[in-house]
């Protein structure tokens, strides 16, 4: 399934900046960055549980927020892209 992960991490202090980097890193390991704090992740249940656990451990619930949007497996009809940085479809042939 395709899961969109977005986050807001408070960066007023050093610890916040650290958290932001951590959260971004976790997302990078699970999906592709489509905008600065928006990630598209192709996950199965197991991977999603692991991603969610890692993010919830890294964030501070009273300062940051994380949102998951579940687009399922028919996401093609639900996503439109305009402008720069088009995303990569992982079902297409991956040839570089």
């Amino acid at each position: 399934m395709l899961v969109i992960v977005t986050y807001d991490v408070s960066t007023t202090d050093k610890a916040g900046q650290r958290r932001l980097r951590q959260v971004a890193k976790i997302c990078l390991n699970h999906g592709q960055r489509v905008q600065n704090s928006v990630f598209e992740c192709w996950l199965n249940n197991e991977n999603f549980v692991s991603l969610k656990h890692q993010l919830l451990t890294a964030m501070l619930p009273d300062q940051d927020s994380v949102r998951f949007y579940f687009l399922g497996s028919n996401w093609q009809y639900k996503v439109e892209h305009h402008g720069i940085k088009p995303s990569l479809n992982l079902d297409d042939p991956l040839i570089i």
């Binding site: 390991n29 592709q32 991977n47 990569l88 992982l90 297409d92 991956l94 040839i95 570089i96």
Partner: protein, 343 residues
């Protein structure tokens, strides 16, 4: 249930693959071009001058992602495997069966039945799709002869007899393959199978796709704990993945032959995409190669219903399923190995 994950093909010469976090990064001329999480890929295939960092190779071996290195033209060079996964008891049973020539013949027979049945399907589909009367009578005759050979397989045969039946059927099938080329007939002429080096574009494409298919079957065997090197029909030879080649027999016509034919008939490949070596060998250029790899990947994404299990799945997953069915048979959970036959 295993899902069919995508394969990353790196065909750009001089590319470098490294691990960053839990993702693979492909850089070309020191510029990062692609970043993919490892959870999204099932295999990495490097063609030609492509390098991988040791840490990436380690991570892939641990996660069961098959990394294979081939020459630009698809000849297999090396594969990176971690500890062989799966059950040592299963592998021992595989060796015992491979030593027993009668037991080997039973499994080899199933593979050949699958191959011949699929040959027949490919030819019948060709008759149905574009029947020019003259060619279709020729093809129909071959279909009938393959049919007769299939019937002889009902008896118990020795391995050598099986090889004979298989060889005869294969040469008959290849004798009409040229009739299945309906567009660009003058540029693509198939007059028989040849390899190392392939002497015409059709053979070059067949060889290239067969070696990609071998890689897929090899990782399918390894992934369910079978030893890809110890085959039943293909006897042991150093460096040869015998079991992968055994299981591949059923898939050759379905995945590769039809793919090559439709690439030609849909004019996705052109004669000018091939060049002839001084030695007479035919090679394809970079864009043709990419076109073929892309078409091969697309083919694997197609959905089919598995004839034995009745489940819907992508064609690319079927090799894995067949390897598991074979493992199930070796463990004694099923009486025979059911080959993959395509309708």
């Amino acid at each position: 249930m295993k899902t069919h994950l995508n394969t990353l093909y790196v065909t750009t010469q001089g590319a470098y693959l490294r691990k960053q976090g839990d993702a693979v990064v492909v850089s070309i001329d020191r510029v990062d071009r692609l970043r993919l999480p490892l959870i999204n890929i099932g295999a990495i295939c490097c063609l030609g001058r492509v390098a991988c960092s040791p840490l990436l190779l380690g991570a892939c071996a641990q996660k069961g992602i098959a990394v294979t290195f081939m020459t630009e033209y698809g000849r297999f060079l090396a594969a990176v495997n971690g500890f062989t996964p799966g059950n040592v008891l299963l592998r021992r049973e595989q060796y015992r069966r491979a030593d027993d020539l009668c037991a080997s013949a039973a499994i080899a027979r199933a593979c050949i039945i699958g191959k011949l049945a699929n040959y027949r399907t490919v030819l019948r589909r060709a008759i149905r799709d574009h029947a020019s009367s003259q060619a279709s009578t020729r093809i129909e005759q071959v279909v009938q002869r393959i049919d007769r050979r299939l019937k002889t397989l009902a008896e118990i045969l020795t391995l050598d007899q099986l090889r004979g039946v298989e060889g005869d059927a294969t040469s008959e099938y290849f004798s009409v393959l040229n009739d299945l080329i309906v567009i660009q007939k003058n540029d693509f002429v198939f007059s028989g199978r040849n390899r190392r080096p392939p002497l015409d574009p059709v053979n070059a494409m067949l060889s290239f796709c067969y070696s990609m298919l071998t890689n897929d079957l090899r990782s399918a065997c390894e992934a369910c704990g079978l030893d890809a090197a110890v085959g039943f029909l293909h006897r042991d030879r150093p460096g040869r993945p015998g079991l992968a080649l055994d299981l591949m027999e059923e898939f050759r016509p379905v995945i590769v032959d039809r793919l090559v034919l439709s690439l030609i008939n849909r004019q996705q490949v052109r004669a000018k995409g091939f060049e002839v070596d001084p030695g007479g060998g035919v090679r394809m250029d970079e864009s043709t190669r990419k076109e073929i790899v892309a078409a091969y990947q697309k083919r694997k994404q197609e959905e089919i219903t598995h004839p034995f299990l009745g489940e819907k799945m992508t064609l690319g997953l079927v090799p894995h399923i067949q390897a598991r069915l074979l493992a199930r048979h070796l463990r004694g959970d099923s009486d025979a190995y059911p080959p993959f036959t395509w309708k």
